[in-house]
């Protein structure tokens, strides 16, 4: 038989990644590595203005240029669209949803808005010719700031709406105002979380091919092949059965490759018109304006509390920039944090208001954490502010308000299945050695050192495992939150697994193989995981929101149950015993009490395929599919601490330690989990210290390259200290998800640490990102 001997248990061990073999040798199938015979190359002409009327588009010079195949304006292609690019999340009944087409034809509404395309024989010739496209723009007034965009007389992003207000969404529970009125202490803080540019190191790209009967294949650097296919049918007016979307190796996404961007449908209609494959590869400068941004939210958070630190109410108001159009799930991003303004704390009265606002900027959408970092940041910053107000230790204030018993139904209505918030914090404090940090801090303050030290905490939880379809329906999300898995035994015993989620760094091929290998009692190398191709996996809802394991992994578990059940029937039939008389362990069915009477699951698979001797009426083959719709979100949680050293003379804040203790449920592969935590923490730290997608008032992006938008390198970061505690989620694998935890937790921990380092000077706030200039100004302000 072609299979290897199964050795031991895989779940819970750090199996080395299957993905590495090709990636380490430079054999990744990244989109820009793929080319078909006859491929033509597309370049996109984008608006240099934040808001401008398109008076005319002259393509003559571009069309006459060397190697140019074709060039089109928005008006030229207007008849190719069956519909605009839809937003899938109408969060309120009266939300304003502007039309959004792959090319703007009348008004360009942000710097980077695509207005024309050129197709040529090479990438370089397409780019040369794109520079010859002569667009007569009439610049119009524009606005980048979401709060100012709501003021009377502000330039409008969509004139037809008569306002820049996109929607107002509210959630209230308990008696919010009464609790605030009755409180001993009320603390309100206002915080701005800047724009973040996701910066997957692989830019986006597409390759489109249209066959002779109109069948479409789109290779795309995407997190969401199934969602792409669904949306493409609406934009192109072609049934899904004629569309195949393939996500090859994808070089990072972090939410920015969820959306259905215009370049995909553009490449398809050009391939159809020109009768040859069309490819587009994003450049980094395009990525900064043409791929979604994240965050850009102003919050005002209010806590009501008793004098001894019991928090009785939390009220949040937020103004959330949507950018110029509504991307796929943009209006719903704040909602993903809407139930987290009480975090791991028991707070009986609760109120959240989100106002979505159009601005003349690149559209926003999901960036790692999506809504949950936003909520956690203001919650954890305000916890420290309340601790200062009450003169309580910030750790003790958190502990005092922690949820203690699980399952716990929050005031806001959702139920947290499992957690141990005290245990997580205890473990953090053990690793941290807080006493020696405080002693060091005391000594430095006593000596009046220029370099001061501070420690900041963030105790968080999150809702992920997106998501129960019924809840998604209740909050007006357009589709469901289930996922699927198929397990197929091949005749000689190797196993194919087809999943509806697809990775862009998360290690699905290894993690899913571990689960299946253990369930079926086969070797991890005998399990091949197929993903990212809608022709292979018809049912899928793709990868985002830490859902692949906690939804897709559970579908896989259920599929394995079905496979085992069918194999059991076959074995019982062949050994002429009752199914109840069979035990299944490590890949072998054994008759209870007769260990010599047994049959492996591979033998059952072979029997199923040859079908010589199956129970009456049984279909040949050993292949089962399960679709799993989670009954609840999953609820990872953790306690993180940052230690920073701040140079009070220069304002330079340096992260010197970072400790993360997380509860992500039962671990499948600890090494992969740690890797996710490291990467997530780094993106949170980067938001706190380095990264800001900055616009001027009119909407000109100021941070247009990696030299002005500061993605940190290894030199700016320390090594991390990670640990886990485990409480088991209410699903068969006990898993919760880990992709976003670090990003959610890290930013407030770092800023709280900087404020702590400077608290003896009277500093109570430092804005993100805490650049040397901002830290220095915060110090100067209190010194004056």
């Amino acid at each position: 038989m072609a299979v290897t001997e199964k050795t031991g248990t895989f779940v819970g061990t750090s199996v080395k990644r299957k993905e590495d073999a090709s990636l380490l040798r430079g054999q990744g199938s990244f989109i820009d590595n793929l080319t078909l015979p006859g491929t033509a190359y597309m370049a996109v002409v984008r608006s240099p203005y934040p808001n401008a009327r398109i008076k005319s588009v002259n393509l003559d010079a571009a069309r006459a240029a060397e190697g140019v195949v074709a060039a089109f304006s928005g008006a030229d292609l207007a008849g190719d669209w069956a519909g605009g690019m839809p937003c899938a999340w109408a969060v309120t009944e009266d939300i304003k949803m502007p039309p959004h087409y792959p090319l703007a034809s009348e008004v360009a509404r942000y710097q980077g808005d695509p207005v024309a395309v050129v197709v040529a024989e090479s990438r370089a010739l397409a780019k040369d010719a794109a520079e010859l496209v002569d667009v007569d723009f009439e610049p119009l007034p524009s606005i980048a700031d979401a709060v100012k965009a709501l003021e009377e007389g502000a330039p409008l992003v969509h004139e037809d709406f008569g306002t820049n207000e996109c929607y107002v969404w509210k959630l209230e529970a308990g008696d919010l105002q009464a609790a605030i009125d009755a409180a001993d202490v009320v603390v309100t803080r206002r915080y701005f979380q800047p724009r973040l540019i996701p910066n997957a190191i692989e830019p986006r790209g597409v390759l489109a091919q249209v066959g002779p009967t109109g069948e479409i294949t789109l290779w795309s650097a995407t997190q969401t092949p199934h969602i792409q296919r669904f949306v493409l049918q609406l934009v192109l007016g072609v049934p899904e059965s004629k569309i195949r979307v393939i996500a090859p190796d994808v070089g990072g996404g972090f939410g920015s490759k969820i959306q259905v961007y215009g370049e995909g449908p553009l490449a398809i209609v050009l391939a159809r018109r020109l009768g040859r494959p069309v490819k587009w590869t994003e450049e980094r400068a395009e990525n900064y304006v043409g791929t979604i941004h994240g965050r850009d939210v102003v919050h005002e958070l209010t806590f009501a509390a008793t004098r001894d630190g019991d928090i009785t109410a939390v009220k949040s108001e937020a103004w959330c920039a949507m950018g110029a159009y509504l991307e796929l799930v943009a209006p719903g991003i704040p909602l993903l944090g809407a139930w987290l303004y009480s975090g791991p704390y028991e707070i009986p009265n609760y109120g959240v208001t989100f106002t979505g606002v159009f601005t003349h900027t690149t559209p926003t959408d999901a960036y790692r954490g999506a809504g949950r970092p936003e909520a956690t940041y203001v919650l954890e910053r305000t916890m420290d502010a309340l601790a200062r107000e009450l003169d309580l230790d910030p750790v003790e204030l958190r502990r005092k308000n922690f949820v203690r018993e699980f399952p716990h139904t929050m005031a806001s209505g959702l139920t947290i299945d499992a957690g141990d918030y005290h245990g997580t914090l205890d473990r953090l404090l053990e690793i941290l050695d807080l006493d020696s940090i405080r002693a060091d801090q005391e000594a430095r303050r006593g000596r009046g050192d220029a370099k001061q030290i501070g420690v900041g905490f963030s105790t968080y939880n999150e809702m992920c495992g997106l998501a129960p379809s019924r809840i998604l329906g209740a909050i007006r999300y357009a589709v469901g939150g289930w996922d699927s898995a198929t397990i197929r035994f091949q005749p000689l015993g190797s196993v194919q697994v087809v999943v509806g989620t697809s990775p862009h760094g998360q290690s699905h091929e290894t993690t899913f193989a571990q689960i299946v290998a253990d369930r079926l009692g086969v070797g991890v190398d005998d399990v091949e995981v197929i993903h990212g191709d809608t022709a292979a996996s018809q049912l899928g809802m793709d990868t985002y929101g830490s859902r692949s394991l906690s939804v897709g992994g559970i579908a896989l578990w259920h599929a394995s149950e079905k496979v085992i059940a069918k194999a059991r029937q076959i074995v019982a039939h062949q050994l002429e015993v009752s199914e109840d008389d069979l035990e299944f362990e490590s890949g072998t069915f054994t008759v209870k009490g007769s260990p010599d009477r047994n049959m492996t699951i591979q033998a059952a698979a072979f029997a199923a395929h040859v079908a010589h001797n199956l129970p009456d009426g049984m279909e040949p083959g050993l292949e089962e599919t399960a679709v799993y719709d989670p009954p609840n979100f999953s609820w990872p949680a953790g306690a993180h601490a940052a230690v920073v050293e701040v140079d009070t003379e220069t304002g330079d804040a340096r992260l010197v330690r970072y400790v993360a203790v997380d509860d992500v449920g039962s671990p499948i592969n600890p090494q992969i989990i740690d890797g996710q935590v490291h990467g997530g923490v780094t993106q949170g730290v980067a938001a706190a210290l380095f990264e800001e997608g900055a616009y001027d008032d009119e909407g000109n992006l100021l941070t247009t390259t990696m030299t002005t938008y500061l993605v940190p390198s290894a030199a700016e970061l320390p090594s991390f200290e990670t640990d886990r505690i485990e409480t088991h989620a209410d699903n068969p694998l006990g898993v919760k998800g880990v992709g976003e935890t670090g990003t959610i937790a890290a930013a407030p921990a770092v800023i709280n640490a900087i404020v702590d380092a400077l608290s003896h000077l009277g500093v109570t706030d430092v804005p993100m990102p805490a650049t040397p200039e901002r830290v220095w100004r915060a110090i100067e302000e209190v010194r004056r």
Binding site: S14, K16, R17, E19, D20, L23, L24, R25, G26, Q27, G28, F30, D32, N33, A124, N199, A200, I201, E202, P203, D249, V250, G251, G252, F254, E283, R284, A285, H504, G505, Q506, S507, Q671, I672, D674, G675, H678, G679, G680, V681, T682, Q683, T705, M706, T707, V711, S713, A714, A715, L717, S719, F720, G742
Partner: protein, 153 residues
Amino acid sequence: MRRVALTVNAVQHDLEVEPRELLVYVLRERLGLTGTNVGCDTSSCGSCTVLVNGESVKSCTMLGVQADGMDITTIEGLATNGELHPVQQAFHEHHALQCGYCTPGMVLAAVSLIESGKATGRDAIREGLEGNLCRCTGYHNIVEAVAAAAGVS
């Protein structure tokens, strides 16, 4: 067009390239060596790092014609007889890659750092890899992998 002679992964190539063609595109598009990735337009990310005469170079900052007569190693040329180079192996052992896009450049930068004798400790490794950005790993495991390959305890 200009004629250039390159040795890439121990194979001699005589090519005609455009004067404006960057080395990375000569490698990717003329030689089909797509393991060298492009991540930015500004020599910032380091994804396209290759070894030129043994030293790490961002191949998007060098023209193909400038590489005339030079000896180039790309990620495809690092393993020998199917065996991973010790740095590649260390990346595998320490889970120093996730999406894998920055990995070829990161591995070659690390090879160069180690061979130059500058990978003397974790801080030195962090400084030495400053020109290579990774968005997935937070660098923790990359530093561990390079430390292991360099024999740093």
